[in-house]
Subunit: 621 residues, 2 copies
């Protein structure tokens, strides 16, 4: 059978397929995934494409799904239309499926590519004496968007651009706003960048908004660290120094622009082809990024300047991208539950969950969200520093040289990240270590560590690891031969206490939220661990330590950097933004410190085997 | 009968009226004119006000006109509600009638005050631990506008402002945009400024947008004159000099800001209380004001960058008013029919006229609009320079020392503006002079002036005034004793020719438009003369000269600076803006030079007594 050539726009891809193959197959061959919720049976109408040349008459399914008007405009269903000769096909963004593997990182998404900024090639009719419409009116009429608005800056260049390009231009629109007019056909170059602005680390993801693919990722330290490790010290710096806020703002904008440069170099694209950005971060980070005074976040009742989503100009924010690009900051929920948590909810589809699900994002703070029966409740806990190593004697972040997993049998074995010599211990290593120490009887349920004098009954190798330190008993995890600095790495009684405080904060937060929705741990369908910590922590140890309620281990799932995924979803899909705005307004924020029983619960939650719910003690063993 | 006190907000006016007087009467006593299209009979519901205290139960008319919801919210009809005790009444802007005498200047308007920017006092509930909504969300919810957007600059100050004002603030909104938040109750201070940006003169009108009154007016020369007297030479300057456009832009912005300063000083208000501006001007002036390159206006086919209305930030334009103020530029129609003509149409209500009406705005150019049977057709003529004195040997603008009226019987008599010694002759004086010269037989119908040798039959005093000049016959209007420079003021044959060219341009423009709508001059209901020229010109002379078709004189009316009135209407009323946008898009622009018969018509129209239509010749005598 003869082959024909199908050409896809705006991708400019060509494939050869046998005569009579559906366009859908040709698209697959070109690496383009179309929306086909009905399974390609011509019922849902989602795989509509626009054909530029003659094609066989529409099938009954096409007539039914598209109607006369769309058919008349050249629209066809990719699953139904089987061309018999060469054909050029334009794929509208909404018909294209986001590439699941790229955007999801552990969470399944079905989401149509539907970016806030779109591009359109426009052949503008040149003016003549009988048609003296203004340049703007002429362009917008030809683009079929007569009511679009635009900036004065654009108008100042418009006449020149149109004439220099001989009236053949590409227009970029965000809704009813004309953002940019470029000479010639640049419809294939449409990129966006998503940022997860963390207190410590910033990650940027460059997406191709035509193909729905991630084309580069880069991360960097948050340069604000120089003015304070944590949120509170940065707020202090912003408040105490006359130019503190502006300094912090420039720090983070500089980091973002560095990441933009990196991503563009890696992907081989021009930053001027980035037309949109989407941002998540905790409430303090988004305040600092936008130059909003953060002082009020640190004083009762911890109220942000704004929680709603912000739809800004990238230039206002200071991003070195297209001068007319947009910048969307996802909504936040409260002073200590930020846009990053909204990103997690979005990525984990928690807003659509009917079953009881818990998402925990452990970064510098620990934010928890419980979804139950259509409700979303959230809280924030001051859990992070221990897990990130800040309050642990030999604690460190999860980077090379960090002990990240520990087993204790007759003696101790461990692994380090990258197999490097021991430099310290990270959160997951610490949780493993303490969970194993407890299983081995080195610490008891209340967290008390045996002293060397109380080592009776322990395996001899373990007994030898116990020693008396400056502030009570210590347990040697790595010997001086195993460490880079030549000193043994020990876990002190104080370290265990710090970990108990941190895990108690998380656990009691979970309990408070379960209480709020009138559920108990036995009803939990799924526990989702977000963030780098969630990637490394062993589920057994998390349960054993009582960091999370004791559920069957298969119900605990790591979902990676879900906050960043949320930012990417918002970048790629207007529907995702709408969802985020909708659910952010209905998330119920629970202020733990306002609950009269919270301190009691917290104290209880510090024990290794939580007293409630019933099953957890057993499961912890 | 006892008196009670009625207090009106936001005006903060108090009046005492007899018990049982309708609120409408109390408002009149306070100098507030409410909308009462039904004549105060309780039928139209337009005079609705909001009462703050107990009032008698609603009448049947009120129940009918307002409905339960509005009544429940405290709304009442001012014409029906007759308070029996002291009462505070809030008057919504839309219930207030624009003060006709101020805004109309010769054109009757019935228009509700409905400015684009409104202010609202908001008592914001302070945050508590149980209510941690963001500042923005809290404010907008209290203002009843939860979906309003705002700038980053506003957000950066919002927290401080709310707390410093103890959560008692005034919010200024433009539609769904929150423009400004000010401490305390500043609802009474809401001003706007309307500008008529002429090629030669700029006029600014400061309006109180609460009371609907003009509170100051000031004018100044357009400083761009230094770079060219007329539109074409300024376009040349903008095109030929690298920074030409920016220089011209700064010139005009400087003039506008000077006028703003003057107006504020005169009215005793702070420029920060100006929240809105509205602009008219010819297409070149609006281009220069906004920094839009005007070059394309001077080359075929004379296409503007934009004709649609522009809704801008006053700060983008460079106006020294409230930092968050808006600036509205009225739509224009074509390269040579600008927003000033749209202002004239708006002020003259031409868009609502069913009868045949002609509006002529003679400034540096002459724009003509014909309204007929729902259609609006417009053209532009290069008529102005002669009427403004530019091409006349002793021509000058209508300022002190200009001959503005001339009569010729046995000899010549004239008046000057301000009674000063003669410095020159302005447009209306020239028209008078030539019309009278023709009546007296000094010039014939074709415009040819008698030479001194052909003075037979003229009264001796007139014959003595004829002399031979450098380029043909001249007629002495003012002797050397009557002029300031000691030289006689003459009208030369060339001056008569120039005037014929100018009036011929206007007349043939009118004819072309009448032709376009299929009408002739006998059907003309009204001829409206706009602009300073229209104020001074004698109707008899305009007809005698054949500047306008010969209609009964009572059908010719001067409407003053109608373009400026249009700007004021757009400033005071959103409905006026919508009207302008609607009709501007449907005005049919007639390009005279594109009409094959135009040059012939033009030549014919130069004769003093137009050959067509039939009646005009007789009326011209």
């Amino acid at each position: 059978m003869a082959d024909i050539e199908i050409r896809f726009l705006p991708d400019k891809l060509r494939v050869r397929v046998p005569v009579g193959s559906p366009i859908l197959e040709a698209a697959q061959q070109a690496g383009i995934t179309l929306e086909t919720p009905c399974g390609g049976e011509g019922r849902c109408g989602k795989c509509r494409v626009k054909v530029r040349d003659a094609a066989p008459p529409p099938t009954a399914e096409e007539t039914q799904a598209l109607g006369a008007e769309l058919l008349g405009a050249g629209f066809r269903l990719a699953c139904q239309c089987r061309p018999r000769s060469d054909l050029t096909v334009y794929i509208p963004p909404a018909s294209r499926q986001l590439q699941q593997s790229i955007l999801s990182e552990g969470v399944a998404h079905e989401l149509a590519l539907d970016p806030a900024v779109v591009k359109q090639f426009v052949a503008v009719p040149a003016p003549v004496l009988e048609d003296q419409r203004g340049d703007r009116e002429r362009l917008l009429a030809a683009a079929g968007r007569p009511r679009a608005s635009c900036s004065l800056a654009l108008l100042r260049e418009l006449g020149r651009t149109l004439r220099a390009a001989d009236w053949q231009v590409t227009a970029a629109f965000a809704g009813d706003r004309l953002l940019a007019v470029e000479p010639d056909d640049t419809t294939a170059a449409l990129y966006g960048i998503a940022f997860d602005v963390g207190t410590t680390t910033v990650v940027g993801y460059l997406l191709d908004l035509i193909a729905g693919r991630q084309v580069a990722v880069a991360s960097d330290m948050n340069a604000q660290v120089a003015h304070g490790e944590d949120v509170i010290s940065r707020i202090q710096f912003a408040t105490d120094n006359p130019h503190g806020l502006e300094l912090l703002r420039r720090d983070i904008v500089g980091v973002l622009n560095g990441i933009i440069g990196h991503c563009c170099r890696r992907a081989g694209i021009d930053a001027r082809h980035i037309y949109d950005a989407a941002m998540v971060g905790n409430t303090c980070m988004t305040h600092l990024l936008l130059g909003l005074p953060p002082g009020q976040l640190a004083v009762m009742p911890y109220v942000p300047v704004i929680t709603a989503a912000r739809d800004l100009l990238a230039a206002e924010v200071g991003l070195a991208v297209n001068a007319a690009a947009r910048c969307y900051v996802l909504p936040s929920i409260a002073g200590f539950v930020g846009a990053d948590t909204v990103g997690v909810i979005l990525a984990a589809d928690l807003d659509r969950s009917r079953e009881l699900r818990i998402a925990i994002d452990i970064g510098t703070n620990g934010e928890i969200v419980v979804a139950a029966g259509g409700r979303l409740v959230a809280c924030s806990t001051a859990a992070g520093p221990a897990f990130e190593g800040a309050t642990i004697s030999r604690g460190m972040r999860a980077t090379a040289g960090a002990i990240d997993a520990v087993s204790i049998g007759d003696d101790v074995t461990f692994t380090t990240i990258d197999g490097a010599g021991v430099r310290g211990i990270c959160g997951s290593g610490l949780i493993d270590a303490v969970a194993e120490m407890r299983r081995a009887g080195v610490v008891d349920d209340t967290g008390r560590m045996r002293s060397p004098a109380q080592a009776d009954g322990l395996p001899p190798a373990l007994a030898r690891r116990l020693r008396e330190g400056a502030a009570g008993a210590e347990f040697v995890v790595a010997s001086q031969e195993q460490t880079q600095n030549g000193e043994p790495l020990t876990i002190t009684s104080r370290d265990v206490r710090q970990l108990q405080l941190a895990k108690g904060a998380i656990y009691s937060g979970i309990e408070a939220l379960l209480d709020e929705v009138g559920a108990d741990a036995s009803q939990v369908e799924e526990i989702l661990l977000a963030g780098a910590f969630g990637n490394y922590v062993k589920r057994e140890s998390a349960v054993a330590l009582g960091l999370v309620p004791a559920v069957p281990l298969e119900r605990i799932r790591s979902i990676g950097n879900a906050a960043g995924v949320g930012a990417k979803l918002a970048l790629a899909s207007r529907a995702a933004r709408e969802r985020a705005q909708d659910f952010a307004a209905r998330v119920e924020y629970i202020e733990l410190s306002a609950r009269p029983d919270f301190h009691l619960r917290f104290a209880e939650a510090m024990t290794m085997a939580p007293l409630a719910p019933g099953k957890s003690k057993a499961a912890g063993r």
